[in-house]
């Protein structure tokens, strides 16, 4: 029996275990929306801007550990997804984005709402497709999900011409996707594992540098086992937060531009850097020749092109982080008794503790003025550290990263690689859909939140009780901080002279708005928000010119930190 392309689309989603998608309709996808409205196997979440659909799919994917899906129309619907796709690409998040397209016979004719979205997104997708023939539809969707979720995950886009979706086709049987040209390496090379383990056992000042790959491959248990077995201190990138318990005594928190003093010092003085699923981004390394100058480098990554891209690596291991760490743990357990070995790093840990005592992560209190860091600390305290935190971009993002000590993978959602203002709120909606029983908080800036504020309507429509904590400093704060430090306080275009009354704004959408102007009001506001079963904006009026510290100025060595 033949079915329509639109029906096949829905069957394919079901096959892939998808039950929720985020989208926005239009003429080119109207056939698909017609079918969506007739079925209840797929829940469609109507966002209010296509960019938000992609960020929501991204947040959903991170929390659920499955592929997130977005559906939009051709032309402007498609171009509105580009920022979301590029963000997911930088952060290696598995999503599939479906875009409508004009009918095949019109492609190339500058038809109404035609855009070459496959061409536009080629450099920011893991792969993309234009489906030209109806019989290719189903195999393409299956391949796209396979590519998105395997290897180094990433976004895949499928462009669907209107006539392909409208055609009648036979639904081919599900087969395992086998591709001639794409076979990611999951298992580590045993010889490399052995070399790495020997180097680790020999090292006097080892540091584990964990990135997003740890979170993506669910390697947190293996990583924790390795670190605790040999007492190796751990630092994480922005994307790696949650990959190792932030409250563990071996955790040094984040490294890099706004990393802790002790993490950056430890990396600089280490003799062995064990990099797991991280990519030596410039925000992490600072001036590259001064990064871990005395260290041998082990680099575990599933993407061979990440290895020796920015820094020459001594022992590369191309593999899934979890598989590689498991193999290393097995090797080490067979060779040594950790009880004899665990004390070997004692002197090194003492040295790190001394650095930590000298310059702990800190901020200056100021009477009843609300310090933004204090808000994040209170959020941590009042949620028991168990909330899912998403962030916008800027100072708010860095304070969330520094002061909410993440203990679990998948609990910190941030646009790390691309740094998209406007990511946090829609991602929080996606996260809340994936985990309806969890507390989800978007730590926001007064600038960023306005970039996708329209999603208050989405949150309301689907009963998503996301909590937004605006650290309202009246500035595009992070840019202001750079102007303060490097441009003689020439605050060009960074004061937000006019902003909405966020409390009234929340109420206008049918949500709840709360405001704290003094330190003593912070806790009651958070408590009130946490017990509210509705979307809430908490407007924290914070000290206006607070800075994020430590800070490594761009292009400087990571040891040249500006401190509080």
């Amino acid at each position: 029996m033949k079915i329509s392309g639109a029906q096949a689309f829905i069957k394919c989603l079901q096959e892939q275990g998808v039950d929720t998608i985020f989208g926005f309709p239009g003429g080119a996808v109207i056939e698909i929306y017609d079918e969506l409205n007739k079925t209840d196997v797929i829940k469609h979440v109507l966002v209010r801007h296509e960019q938000a659909a992609v960020h929501a799919a991204d947040g959903y994917a991170r929390v659920k550990g499955e592929v997130g899906v977005a559906l939009v129309t051709s032309g402007p619907g498609a171009t509105n997804t580009v920022t979301g796709i590029a963000s997911a690409y930088c952060d290696s998040i598995p999503i599939v984005v479906f875009t409508g397209q004009v009918p095949t016979q019109l492609i190339g004719n500058d038809a109404f709402q035609e855009v070459d979205i496959v061409g536009i997104t080629r450099p920011c997708t893991k792969h993309n497709y234009l489906v030209k023939k109806p019989e290719d539809l189903v195999p393409t969707i299956r391949e796209a999900f396979h590519i998105a979720r395997t290897g180094r995950p990433g976004p895949v886009l499928i462009d669907l011409p209107k006539d392909v979706v409208g055609a009648m086709i036979n639904f081919p049987e599900m087969k395992q996707v086998k591709m001639r040209t794409y076979r990611p390496t999951y298992e580590p090379h045993p010889g490399q594992v052995e070399k790495a383990c020997k180097a680790i056992l020999k090292a006097k000042r080892p540091v584990i540098y964990a990135g997003g790959g740890v979170v993506l491959s669910d390697a947190n248990e293996e990583l924790t086992a390795l670190a605790r077995k040999l007492n190796i201190p751990v630092t994480m990138t922005l994307m790696g937060l949650g990959g190792f318990p932030g409250t563990d005594s071996l955790s040094m928190g984040m490294l890099g531009m706004h990393g802790t003093y002790y993490a950056n010092m430890a990396v600089a003085k280490s003799d062995l850097l064990i990099s797991v699923g991280a990519r030596f981004d410039d925000r992490v390394t600072g001036r590259i020749d001064a990064f871990a100058p005395d260290a041998k480098i082990i680099h575990i990554d599933i993407d061979p092109s990440s290895i020796s891209k920015n820094v020459k690596v001594d022992i590369p291991i191309v593999a899934d982080c979890r598989h590689a760490l498991a193999a290393m743990n097995t090797w080490i357990d067979r060779k040594i008794d950790p009880a004899d070995h665990g004390g070997k790093t004692a002197a090194w840990l003492e040295k790190i503790a001394a650095w930590r005592n000298k310059h702990p992560l800190a901020y200056k209190e100021d009477g009843d003025v609300i310090k933004p860091q204090f808000v994040v600390e209170k959020l941590h305290e009042l949620t028991g550290g168990e909330a899912i935190i998403s962030t916008e971009v800027g100072q708010n993002q860095m304070w969330a990263a520094q002061f909410y000590h993440f203990n679990h993978p998948g609990s910190f959602l941030t646009s790390g690689g691309l740094g998209v203002m406007g990511y946090g709120f829609p991602a929080a909606i996606g996260a809340q859909m994936a985990a309806p029983d969890r507390t989800v908080i978007d730590v926001a800036g007064d600038g960023s939140i306005q970039m996708n504020i329209q999603e208050l309507a989405t949150a309301r429509q689907y009963g998503c009780p996301v909590k937004i904590a605006i650290l309202n400093n009246g500035y595009l704060g992070m840019v202001r901080q750079w102007q303060e430090l490097f441009f003689d306080k020439n605050y060009s275009a960074t004061p937000l002279d006019v902003s909405p009354d966020f409390v009234a704004l929340a109420q206008a959408y049918g949500g709840v708005g709360l405001r704290a102007k003094t330190k003593s009001e912070v806790e009651p506001v958070i408590r009130e928000a946490l017990k509210t079963d509705n979307v809430v904006i908490m407007d924290f009026v914070v000290s206006r010119e607070e800075g994020v510290y430590p800070m490594v100025p761009a292009g400087k060595a990571t040891t040249e930190m500006l401190l509080v």
Partner: protein
């Protein structure tokens, strides 16, 4: 250093722009490029020459490999290979120089492929070094136009 890189690709629309987009997007340079179908009609072979230090060339080959439609990437500098490029050169050939041009072309086993009262178009095939030699010798006589195919390269078969 100059590297010749040979890439086997799925013969599908858009694949070439994935490769060239990769080079422009990542700031790698392409000095020459040639593409055509292989014996398997579903597969194309793309040969490109590029310049860069070892770390850059390693990145280039890894990034190419990462493209889903790429089947195989070979840095021809690392194997014994036969390398060829063809050029058609239009050179001034007037009363005094016609015979000399023919002699030079003959030495390089070139062919005249177009004749006019004032010029010859000659075809020369060989490795890049040979084309350079021909061009250097013809230049003083007066080269009016050159078109080149870009390098193609094939690994030599194992001798044993």
């Amino acid at each position: 250093m100059r590297h010749v890189i040979s890439v086997l690709l799925q013969n599908k629309p858009g694949v070439l722009s994935r490769v060239t987009g990769l080079f422009s997007g990542r700031g790698f340079n392409i000095e020459s490029l040639s593409v055509a179908q292989t014996i398997d009609p579903e597969v194309s072979c793309l040969t490109l020459t590029t310049k860069g230090d070892d770390m850059i060339v390693e990145q280039i080959t890894k990034q190419l490999h990462k493209l889903i439609d790429v089947i195989k990437v070979t840095d021809m500098n690392e194997t014994e290979s036969v390398e060829r490029e063809m050029a058609i050169i239009r050179v001034k050939a007037e009363a005094g120089t016609r015979a000399e041009v023919l002699r030079i072309i003959d030495i390089f086993r070139g062919k005249v492929v177009d004749v006019s009262p004032k010029s010859y178009a000659v075809e020369v095939t060989g490795p890049a070094s040979k084309l350079k030699a021909v061009i250097d010798i013809l230049r003083p006589i007066g080269i009016q136009e050159i078109v080149r195919t870009g390098v193609i390269s094939m690994s030599r078969a194992k001798k044993s």
